[in-house]
């Protein structure tokens, strides 16, 4: 809502010294979101005067037609002589009154005017268009041609009200009344403690039987319909300057007098109006729900297929308007031919919900629907109709028809009962009953009672429905800025949950290991699964899809973090960072096996546990995953020596580090999956409730996948299900017993087939070595066909033995080692390398 300050002053006698900024601050404090104050004509400087065109000489030989004009500007130019002006516009003739800017003036945009040579002539000023004066769109598309009665030499700054301040208010959905000058004026009046000159207080004639016939067959959808008729309109009459200017400042375009008047009254009182050309309406006006599939061509020229829920205005032929949203083309006032001399004015009140649905259904948000959706004062309809009639009579020379139609569905005013101290309890402030009552009365409520207040809300505030709504009115008018600052004392909390602490720890561990966190969008395209080489029946291919994705290329939600991370890796690589280690933790989305609709549960009581469970069952499973990707050097080359490229082992180690943080034993074994190199992929598993569960994969990515995705060679990756990792957690770590007896170390080198995994050998050694074994560590892997034989490898382990009650003898340690080696030999075919 754009509110010109000069217009606002008509209803509230604000002190002359108050600027738009001052009013803005007061209204913001009262709860109107005044986003800006536009300073119209702030940098405008005269002389800017009314002139009359005396002669026009068409200049030939230029690319476009140019006119050399002599303009009478009276004595504004100091000499009284005709002003010589070159002009490129053509929408004026000799004798027309125009706006002339003289040398020395400054137009909006800091455009200084001086005499200048152009098209072989000297132009001493300009003939102005509305645009050049910062007036906004006036619909003329050229020079302003003023009514002939205006005198030559008149100051045009004053005449066209070019200097003003306009408050731009973003009206929240609850405050429909603020979509009118009347509503904003009421807030300004309260804020300044001044009386409101309510423009809706008009004498309205009583309804009678002679008015235009109206039949409302859906009183729920339309509880009020006022119809008035004005005849004898002069279709030639244009809207006066003041009317046009107010509309322009409020952001509307002047169209024709009848339309301008209805728009003006809507801005003034907040009541949307519609004017029908009476000669084009056939029979009684009706209000009903549309028949499914019925057609209506609206004023914007679009033919719409109506829904059975749409409320329509009809005549004998059928729909002539989409009620409260937009009129129909077939009864439109003719503003191009200018033949309309009789109009029927509609001032009606429609159901907010119905209008909102219709506007949304037809994607047609109009000034009218915007207001009806947010609530229009039903009591203002008769006044608005009267005001429209008055203006048509005054400005268009019309005659008000004696007939007054009013169809009203009776309704009781809304009352709310609150304890008088309810606002005090909500605010935490002792306002006292007197203040509460006074503030509620200021917003227009009728208030009765002592300790219990019975508050009847005004017709223009349908948003006031609950006790807290009334509390808000009191608190905002007393000033949110005056609320004290107190701290509640919450009961002692339990701190972070295990899952939350693990999540944070994982971020720190990965960042500590050199990984940089990236937070990627969860949107993916399903083609990415082909790029990643997932099997046709891979469960990751089952995705949650969006109805309205931002991009049709990415209509689904991720089931894996890799596409986002790999995209970030590629972007970094492309920007010149080649040594990369990235990580992400985030949710992935797995559709339920059976898709269900999440129902609309009640809101007037707590839903049952079963109902809540039914919602959960309709949501996808959303586990938190963790993933890393690596490319380039893991360790850089430097003065210390060579660097080391990131490899499969780094990716697997990332998984191990997460498992350590989770206190979970991670089972790492050779695996094959989707995007990973089949020979360099580890399957990651944990044991949950005695069951092994695969929770992810790590290793080097498949060269083919890297090529398809345009990623650096040898890019590595790891992804696992963090929630599953947490579930497998062994719980609290147990403090180990530390023996102070000396250690006995035994090294063994075992030759096995290359296909035998280290973990199997180690497990056998560990089991065979028994209780005396303190630790075991693989310290070398050696492959040499000549020395070991083809297809063989040597694994060298350091075994540390220690007892907690004595010093071990060499024989004891050797014996334990021999048992370990024997078991490894039995299980894995290992041979002790001599």
């Amino acid at each position: 809502m754009r509110v010109p300050l000069s217009w606002l002053r008509e209803y509230v006698d604000l002190p002359a010294t108050e600027t738009g900024r001052d009013v803005q601050a007061k209204l913001i404090s009262a709860g109107l979101e005044v986003e800006s104050v536009e300073q119209l004509g702030a940098d405008l400087k005269g002389p800017l005067v009314v002139g009359q065109v005396q002669s026009i000489e068409e200049l030939e030989g230029f690319k476009k037609p140019i006119r050399f004009c002599l303009v009478d500007v009276g004595t504004a130019n100091g000499t009284g002589e005709l002003q010589e002006i070159v002009c490129g516009a053509r929408n004026f003739a000799v004798g027309d009154k125009v706006v002339v800017v003289l040398p020395g003036a400054v137009l909006p945009g800091n455009f200084a005017i001086a005499a200048r040579q152009t098209y072989g002539k000297t132009s001493h000023g300009m003939i102005c268009s509305g645009d050049e004066l910062g007036m906004g769109d006036d619909g003329s598309g050229g020079i302003i041609v003023l009514p002939p009665e205006i005198e030559v030499g008149t100051d045009a700054i004053e005449l066209l009200q070019l200097v003003d301040e306009v408050l731009d208010i973003a009206v929240t959905p609850d405050r429909g009344y603020a979509l009118s000058m009347r509503g904003v004026a009421r807030e300004a009046a309260i804020a300044y403690g001044l009386p409101l000159m309510d423009p809706a207080l008009l004498d309205v004639p009583a309804p009678n039987a002679f008015g235009y016939p109206v039949r409302v067959s859906d009183p729920m959808g339309c509880d009020r319909f006022t119809a008035r008729t004005v005849t004898g309109l002069d279709p030639e009459t244009l809207s006066p300057i003041w009317l046009r200017r107010r509309l322009q400042k409020a952001g509307m375009r002047p169209i024709s007098l009848a339309v301008d008047i209805t728009n003006y009254v809507m801005l003034e009182l907040g009541q949307p109006l519609h004017a029908y050309d009476r000669t084009r309406v056939q029979g009684a006006i009706g209000v009903r729900r549309a028949e499914q599939g019925e057609k209506l061509t609206t004023l914007d020229g679009v033919t719409r297929t109506l829904d059975a829920e749409d409320l329509v205005i009809t005549d004998d032929r059928g729909p002539i308007g989409l009620a409260g949203v937009m009129g129909g083309a077939n009864t439109e006032i003719d503003d191009t031919e200018g033949t309309t001399t009789e109009v029927v004015i509609e001032a009606a009140h429609f159901d907010a919900l119905s209008i909102a649905r219709t506007a949304r259904r037809h994607k047609l948000a109009s000034e009218a629907s915007k207001r009806f959706e947010r609530g229009v004062d039903p009591q203002a309809a008769s006044a608005a109709a009267q005001r429209t009639v008055d203006l048509l009579v005054l400005l268009a020379g019309g005659t008000a028809d004696a007939g007054v139609t009013e169809v009203i569905a009776p309704s009781a005013p809304h009352s709310i009962t609150i304890p008088a101290n309810h606002p005090d309890k909500v605010a935490g402030v002792d306002y006292g009953r007197e203040t509460v009552v006074r503030r509620l009365q200021q917003v227009g409520c009728d208030v009765y009672g002592q300790d219990e207040l019975i508050v009847t809300v005004p017709s223009w505030r349908p948003d006031l429905t609950d006790p807290n709504d009334l509390a808000e009115e009191v608190i905002r008018l007393e000033g949110y800025e005056n609320l004290p600052s107190t701290l509640p004392k919450p009961p002692a909390g339990l701190g972070l949950t295990g899952r939350q602490r693990l999540h944070r720890r994982i971020g720190r561990v990965l960042a500590g290991a050199g990984y940089v966190e990236a937070l990627n969008y969860p949107f993916i395209g399903e083609h990415v699964f082909d790029q990643l080489g997932l099997a046709a029946d891979d469960p990751k291919r089952k995705v949650v899809k969006l109805v309205n994705p931002l991009s049709d290329e990415e209509p689904a939600l991720r089931t894996t973090l890799l596409p986002g991370l790999l995209h970030a890796l590629r972007r970094n690589d492309g920007r010149g960072s080649h040594d990369l280690a990235l990580f992400e933790t985030g949710l992935v989305f797995q559709p339920q096996d059976e898709l269900r609709v999440a129902g609309r549960l009640p809101v007037d009581h707590r839903p049952t546990d079963e109902e809540i469970a039914s919602l959960t069952a309709a949501l996808p499973v959303q586990p938190r995953h963790a993933a890393v990707v690596l490319a380039g050097a893991r360790e850089q080359a430097g003065w210390w020596g060579k660097g080391r490229p990131a490899d499969w082992a780094d990716a697997i180690e990332a998984a191990r580090s997460l498992a350590r943080e989770a206190g979970t034993e991670l089972l790492v074994r050779s695996g094959q999956y989707g995007p990973w190199h089949p020979g360099r992929c580890a399957e990651l598993a944990v044991v949950v409730d005695g069951q092994e569960k695969v929770i992810g994969y790590a290793g080097e990515l498949h060269p083919g996948v890297l090529k398809t995705l345009g990623l650096p060679a040898r890019t590595c990756a790891m992804e696992l299900d963090l929630d599953a990792l947490e579930q497998a957690s062994a719980g609290l770590p147990k403090g180990p017993k530390i023996s102070t007896f000396p250690v006995a170390t035994q090294d063994v080198a075992l030759v096995v087939d290359k296909t035998v995994p280290h973990v199997d050998v180690e497990a056998a050694l560990r089991e065979g070595a028994g209780e005396l074994l303190e630790s075991i560590r693989l310290f070398d892997v050696y492959e040499n066909g000549e020395q070991l034989g083809e297809g063989k490898k040597s694994l060298a382990y350091a075994l540390r033995f220690r007892a907690d009650d004595r010093t071990l003898t060499v024989d004891e340690a050797s014996a334990a080692r021999d048992v370990a080696v024997a078991l490894a030999a039995e299980r894995t075919g290992a041979v002790l390398r001599s």
């Binding site: 006790p467 608190i475 609320l483 909390g493 050199g514 931002l550 972007r571 609709v597 609309r600 850089q636």
Partner: protein
């Protein structure tokens, strides 16, 4: 065995030790003057051949000389070792300014650490962190929060809708949550009052990515439900938060606004932590952080609408509550001078690294 002879041997030994320039030379001198074939050793051996009456005197003479020689050796050795040790320390000196970026430092994303930073302010007060799904039922995202199906506010938010069982545009009742507020409803349903929770998380709206918008962003929400909570408590909690994050002299300002799930509702601003409001009306001291407004818009807040309490099974006659929520991206922008939101979503390591582990 003449005393002069012995003294000469002694003095020669002492001179040789003094002349030894390093430990090797000293070792040679030691062998020459104290070894088995040295003159003093030979002299010592000769004592045994002397007549008994002369033995004592000769023994004393030679013993004193040998003692002096050994002492001088020890002293010279200590001296030379000290010199050597000092020299080694000089020789081992390194250029300590050499870099060691062998494994360049990693970092957590500042949005993550910013959320934790804010959450921890409240965790330290006794609040707990509540979480909820990102793909959420409309009932939680809207209905339970007093957004009626046709409420105009429901259109204010540009929602991603999830496809239903019938495919394409079938109704599913499921959306990408448009705010963290559904977690409020979940927290109330999960816990008995009093409820004090903060809910950080990711939210979604159908905005195209540009310098000031991103379709995927982060919010943190606070909910307190208890007996007798007031708007003054809300104000105090907000003041405490900005003081904790921006300094002791900070404060907040509330302006009336409208949200379906709070009533009364307010927009919350914090004092500009850079200019403390001194740039207002002071063209000589413009403030980029607050555009010389003096205040920075933070987010929305209010008293929990009793209708929301009812939908979540909390008795509004007994309990009242307050809530607020704001965007983490915006806070990161004005707290850390981040100018372009795209930097937060692109995952460029050059952006993230400087933020380190905490914020």
């Amino acid at each position: 065995m003449k005393p002069e002879e012995i003294e000469r041997m002694r003095d020669e030994a002492l001179a040789a030790f003094a002349a030894a320039g390093d430990l090797d030379a000293l070792q040679e001198a030691k062998v020459a003057h104290t070894g088995g074939t040295s003159p003093l050793a030979l002299a010592n051996r000769e004592i045994g051949a002397l007549p008994p009456h002369a033995k004592a005197a000769a023994g004393k003479l030679v013993g004193q000389a040998r003692g002096a020689v050994n002492k001088a050796f020890g002293a010279r050795q200590a001296e030379l070792e000290a010199e050597r040790d000092a020299r080694v320390l000089v020789e081992e000196a390194v250029d300590v300014t050499l870099p060691y970026d062998r494994v360049p430092a990693g970092a957590r994303h500042p949005l993550t650490t910013m959320m934790e930073r804010v959450a921890d302010v409240f965790v330290s007060m006794g609040y707990e962190i509540a979480e909820g799904p990102e793909v959420e039922a409309e009932w939680f995202n809207f209905d339970a929060l007093n957004f009626t199906p046709d409420h105009p506010a429901r259109q204010m938010q540009d929602t991603f809708f999830v496809e239903g069982p019938t495919g394409d545009h079938g109704e599913s009742g499921v959306v990408l949550r448009t705010h963290t507020s559904p977690v409020q409803a979940r927290a109330m349903l999960d816990r008995e009052p009093p409820v004090y929770v903060v809910c950080p998380g990711r939210v979604f709206r159908t905005d195209e990515l540009d310098a000031t918008h991103t379709p995927v962003f982060h919010q943190i929400e606070l909910l307190a439900v208890d007996e007798g909570l007031t708007m003054a408590d809300l104000k105090g909690t907000l003041d405490h938060m900005v003081q904790s994050l921006f300094g002791a002299d900070m404060k907040t300002r509330l302006r009336p606004n409208y949200f379906p799930f709070t009533e009364p509702s307010a927009e919350m601003d914090m004092l500009c932590y850079v200019c403390k409001g001194e740039s207002v009306g002071n063209p000589d001291r413009p403030c980029r952080t607050c555009s010389s407004e003096g205040w920075i818009e933070l987010g929305g807040c209010g008293m929990v609408n009793p209708r929301v309490l009812v939908a979540c099974g909390v008795d509004p006659e007994k309990y009242s509550g307050f809530a607020f929520g704001f965007g983490i991206e915006r806070m990161l922008m004005f707290r850390h001078n981040v100018e372009d939101m795209r930097d937060m979503v692109e995952g460029d390591v050059r952006f993230t690294r400087p933020f380190g582990m905490e914020i």
